[in-house]
């Protein structure tokens, strides 16, 4: 028999608690995993109730009203500018990018699988990327080439958010690189879509590294062979 504050989970999920109990429940919730789990699952049930309520469409003005609201307060967004600008390493970013193409650095065997594009793996990667994007401690690094941003969390896991890349040409792939000093390290492949790409970078991005993207033969290569079309500022 469910009793006490745990039982309030149903009323909370239905937004039916009276104010005092709602406050009490919200105070209780952070410390109670059982209630958190129960609430998450009840919320799925109330979502079904919400979907079942569907009726006529809202006026077309509503969308514009919402976007107008949002434009009126862009500053409310959680700041993601770096809290502290690190001193940029001696090696200028542009030089680092140029180095990618120039060098014949030692190769190493790649343990990366080239075939990650099974749907489940793709979804899993996107979920991991979303977590990094949502991390308030992650910082945003702008791109010196390409349009978009690089987001890096304090552990050095990174996501590239790219706008406007065409899908890679037939027989080609986009390949990411983490450039440390003058050494490019393979950091994963992605096909590119007609639109925005949100791609998790394999490996760890350390201070001073540059993340770059080149177009390569399908399956990827161990050393970049083309000029990067995307490159971040040094992290």
């Amino acid at each position: 028999m469910e009793t006490g504050i745990h039982e309030l989970t149903a009323g909370y999920a239905l937004d039916a608690l009276d104010p005092e109990e709602r406050y009490a429940y919200e105070a209780h919730l952070p410390g109670c995993e059982r209630c958190q789990r129960e609430l998450a699952s009840f919320w799925e049930t109330t979502e079904a109730l919400a979907i079942a309520a569907s009726g006529p469409s809202p006026s077309s003005e509503l969308r514009e009203r919402i976007l107008t609201d949002v434009r009126a307060e862009p500053q409310v967004v959680v700041p993601f500018e770096p809290r502290r600008r690190r001193v940029v390493p001696v090696l200028a970013a542009a030089a680092a990018v140029a180095a990618v193409v120039a060098l014949g650095i030692g190769l190493w065997a790649s343990h990366l699988s080239g075939q990650l594009d099974d749907t489940r793996a793709a979804l899993e990667r996107e979920r991991a990327a979303a977590e990094i994007l949502a991390d308030p401690d992650a910082r945003t690094v702008s791109l010196q080439a390409g349009e978009g941003q690089l987001v890096v969390n304090p552990q050095g896991r990174a996501v590239l958010v790219l706008h406007g890349l065409d899908p890679a040409p037939s027989g080609k792939t986009y390949e990411m690189w983490i450039i440390e000093g003058e050494t490019p390290v393979r950091a994963g492949l992605f096909p590119g879509r007609d639109g925005a790409d949100v791609v998790g970078v394999d490996g760890t991005v350390d201070t001073g590294n540059v993340v770059a993207v080149t177009v390569e033969e399908a399956g990827g290569v161990d050393v970049p062979t083309t000029t990067p079309i995307v490159a971040s500022e040094p992290v």
Partner: protein
Amino acid sequence: MEVTAPTVLALPGSPNRFAMRKQHAHLSDEALVALVARGDEAALAELYDRMGRIAYGLALRVLRDERYAEDAVQEAFLAVWRTAAAFRAERAKASTWILTLVHRRAVDLVRREERRRAEPLADEQSSAGETALATDEAAWLRFERERVQAALGQLPDVQREAIELAYYGGFSQSELAERLGVPLGTIKSRMFAGLARLRELLDDSAQEGSWRPEFTS
């Protein structure tokens, strides 16, 4: 190794707003929320395009007034914009979170405005607006509605009544106790037992086969 001529793709120009919105069409709801947290307006627009209709249907069911319903949806999406950074994908789906915000806003409004109090249970579903939807989406909504109504229909009457009056009518537990003339503790128990049973029934029917088209419109 043969040196391949560098393949340099043209760097894109600044995309316009419409193009930006379309660009997000393939992202998951959760990824969109993450982008919203970083100030991506196009991501919010895409979330609205996916969720706005269901959100409005819910708000209208609770508030029974188009203007108030639009206000509730507008305020909820503004809350999404403001608080997206606090959203944690491991806790709930983004759609659940957004609909929870809409519902809470609608309930707050209905209590403040004393607007319901007519009989909130009448199911005034109109399918008129659905002609404007992609066939897939309309079919999916109809399928879901029938599935949920079938599950509600299997609940004991007192449990169904408590859930419908609370969720669609915006009545609080103490208001329900008064309205129905039963002790508050009874209402709490009915609500808990009813929602737990509904969850089971929906899980069962989901296993029988549900499907959801990809909404990209």
